[in-house]
Structures are given as C-alpha cells and as structure tokens.
C-alpha cells in the first residue's frame, strides 16, 4: 500500500523510523569503510561466508535459548579466525578457506534451522531494522565509531598493505596486526549487520558500494569517498522506500546499490564510447 507523500516526510513522526534511519546511516558509513579492504584483497566472498556463519550463530542461539545476536557474533569471530588459518594453509588458493567456512556454516544452519521457529529465523534472513531496541542502537553507534576511528588512523598503512604487503613490511608497518584488527572488526560488522539488515543483505552491502566506486576509476581516496556516498544513499533510500512502498528495507537497499552500480557501468560504457568517437573524428594533422 502506497502511503501519502503529503504533509512532508511523515515517516519521521515515528520514533522507530528515526532510529531505523540513523542506524541505516551509521551502517551505511561502516560497511564500505571495512568492506572496501576486502574487495581490494579480492576476498569479497569472505563477507558471504561470515554472513552465513552469523546465520549459523542465530540458529545455535534459537535452538539453545541463548541470545541470538551474541551467538552470531561468536560464530563470526570463530569463522574469521578459521578463514585466516585456512588462508595461510592454502597459500595461493586462499579462497578455498572461505569456501570451507561457508560450506560448514550452511551445513550447521541447515541442520539446526529445522529445530528453530521459522518466524524468528526469517527475521535474521532479511533483518529487522524497523524493530531496533535502544541496546542495539548503542551497539551500532559503538561499532560505527570504532570503524571510523580505525579507518582514519590506519588509512595510509592499510593502503600500503593493500598495494604490497612486502613493501609495507619493509616500511615497518605492522601488517599482521592490521590484518587481524580489520578482520575482527569486519566479523563484528557482519554479525551485527546480519541482525539488523539481514544476513542475506549484509554481505552484498559490504561489497557493492566499493564495487560500484571502482568502476569510476578515480584512485584509492576517491573510491573510498564514492563508496561511502553510494552506501549512504542505498541504505537511507532503503528505509525511505520501504516506508512508502512497504518493501523490505534491507532488500531495497541492496536493490538501490545494484541500480547505482549498473548506472556507473552504463556511464563508463558511454564515456568510453564517446572518447573513442572523439578520437576517431579528431582532425588529422598534416605533419
């Protein structure tokens, strides 16, 4: 059902919508700041593996009666440690480690989901951003603050590691420590994000904004800035559209991010074609 657009932005009359909007903006800021590094490392699927681990944690929580959010955080952290261990074991085939964890998480989730109530479980698939408690709001504020602090204070050193771990080590950058801290924050973000926007949505929102920004080929700093803008637009419009169109907020955010990515792809294609056309039609010098 389409709600009335008259009388200004009516959605902000409701406290839960204001909280949802603030949380969407905070997560919109956090996702690309941590997800960008994973995209640059070509480990985008690790977000998927962790999102499924979050779901496995939820399943364990629902079956055992323990707090689902905390169980999903524990599962994500264990999975991130396992991925790190397996990545080192498999060397060049590091992505195998990700697949192993993803498969294990799917198995645990699949088996335990039969014992959990389906209503509860579905809320973790697509999230429940409109039903956020104050405790969850504080958790998201803390996560965003730590992520922003981590991003700005390690910006150049993270970039050095992404360009060349070997050259970063020569410059005495603590490569292992940075990788550990980033992965830990990433795991926490996936676990918390899975509860709020849904486990099926969180891994997409960690990757899509940076993937879209990379299409514009503007360098590292601008890629970071553009990815944050894309993420903020996607997350906030997810909330707004869900209110007026009764769509699921998380899925709507991903849809908006995909549309932006396709628009950037189109823009790149058109600008390339125009450039080629310009070159072909440039007057030929006599000399």
């Amino acid at each position: 059902m389409l709600k009335s657009w008259k009388g200004g932005i009516t959605m902000f009359r409701y406290e839960f919508m204001v909280i949802a909007f603030v949380v969407a903006l905070l997560l919109g800021l956090t996702f690309p700041l941590l997800g960008g590094t994973v995209v640059y490392k070509k480990l985008s699927s690790s977000g998927d593996a962790l999102a499924h681990s979050a779901l496995a944690g939820v399943a364990i929580g629902l079956v055992s009666g323990l707090q689902a959010l905390y169980m999903s955080i524990v599962c994500c952290v264990i999975s991130f440690l396992l991925i790190g261990l397996l990545r080192r074991k498999f060397g060049k085939h590091a992505e195998i480690g990700v697949v192993v964890v993803l498969s294990a998480a799917i198995a645990v989730t699949g088996i335990l989901s039969g014992y959990a109530s389906s209503g509860n479980f579905e809320s973790y698939l697509f999230g429940s951003i409109l039903l956020i408690s104050y405790d969850e709001l504080y958790v998201v504020i803390a996560l965003a603050a730590i992520s922003i602090f981590f991003f700005f204070f390690t910006y150049h050193r993270q970039m050095a590691c992404l360009y060349s771990e070997e050259e970063a080590k020569i410059a005495r950058v603590p490569v292992r420590l940075l990788d550990f801290l980033h992965s830990l924050l990433f795991a926490l973000t996936v676990a918390i994000g899975a509860k709020i926007v849904g486990s099926l949505v969180v891994s997409s929102m960690l990757v899509l904004p940076t993937a879209a920004a990379l299409l514009l080929k503007k360098g590292y700093r601008m890629t970071c800035i553009i990815s944050v803008i894309v993420s903020l637009i996607s997350m906030s419009s997810g909330i707004v559209l869900s209110y007026y169109l009764d769509w699921k907020p998380g899925a709507t955010s991903v849809g908006v991010a995909v549309v932006i990515l396709l628009f950037f792809l189109l823009y790149r294609g058109v600008s390339r074609a125009l450039l080629r056309h310009k070159r072909l039609n440039a007057p030929v010098s006599d000399q």
Partner: protein, 221 residues
Amino acid sequence: MIEFRDVGFSYEDEDKAMLRHVNFTMKDGEFVGILGPNGGGKSTFLKLTLGILKPNEGSLTITDSRIGYLSQTTSVQDHDFQCTVYELVCLGLVDRKKLFLSRADKEKVRAALDEFELWDYRKKLISELSGGQLQRVRLAKALVGDPTLLVFDEPDAGMDEANHHHLIHIIEKLHQRGKSILFVSHHPHDLEHADSVYFIEGGELITYAEELERGHHHVSL
C-alpha cells in the same frame, strides 16, 4: 651499515638451507652489487637485509632506519591496484608511527614528483602508465622518504634499452649523492660503478672475483 656475521637461514617447511655462513659488510655510502642465478639465495639475502625475514643462525646488524626499495615492475599489484600516481608516491612516507601525512610530507611528495617529471601525471591511475613511467613513479616512491639505504631488486627487468640506461644513470647519481646502494642484478654491466660485487649461489656468498677464479664463464665487469 649492514653487517652479516655467519648468517644462516632456512625456511620452516624446507630442510635445505637457503643461506649458509654468510659474512658480509656494507659501509655507509657504499655501492654493492649482487649477482647470481635464480634460486641461489639472492631473494632470501635481500629479505634478510630488508627485515622481512630474521636469520636462524648468526647475527645481522642494520643501522639504516630509512630504507628505499625498488623491485621489478611486473608485479600484479601495479596492474590491479586502483590508485593514482600521487597516492602511490605518498606511500613512500608511510611507516610504523606516522598516522597522517603533514604539510611538509606533501611538499616532499611534490618535490619527488617534480624531480621525476611526474607532476602532470599525478592524477593518473598507475595501471594506465607505461612500464618506464611506472618505474619512475616507483623510484619516486622509494626516494620520497630520503632513505639512507637504497635496495634495488632487478629493477630493470623487462625494461626497454632507453629506460634501462636512464635508470642506471639515476642509480649512479644517487650513489654520488652519498646514498648506500645495494643492487641485485642479472647483468654484470649494470654494476661497473659498484665499489664491490658479490655472487650468491647455492646459499653461499662469495666475491665476484672469487666466482671468476672458480672458472665460471660470466661476463667480466
């Protein structure tokens, strides 16, 4: 100054020692060349010098705190990593302690870009550069922090003749400015201005003169 005293090294999962009883001294301002076949231990020697690896045996002393490093241009990251020329040169100032680049740092980056005639390219992506241009950017990155020791790991591999000569000329000028140079090369000709040249094969480090005395048919300097 770099000093290896009876240094030995072997990787955890390999029985064979990569380096055995290496004794080597390099004084400040010296230009030292290293030659040797692939798999002979050159890379391990360099990684020890650069602090990436720690020796299993013996002692290793390096007094230089600022090290500039230039490797081959053919690495994957230069084609894949999306950053501008300016951003890459900035990375030459990154170290353990520095959180942000100061205004003075940015001046240094500008000076390095000017020195290698790269200022006009500063907004270009490194993946859009030619091999020669990219190596100039990487050299600017290696030099921007004003290092006392410069380590070159076959930096001319895959370069055309003109760029190769230009690079060797720059390295010689850096030596004249008082920088310590450690240059690993495949070509003895590149090392004709070196103060001393060593040869690494089978994990052993010997002087190039000794290597020639052993009767191996390498081109003389």
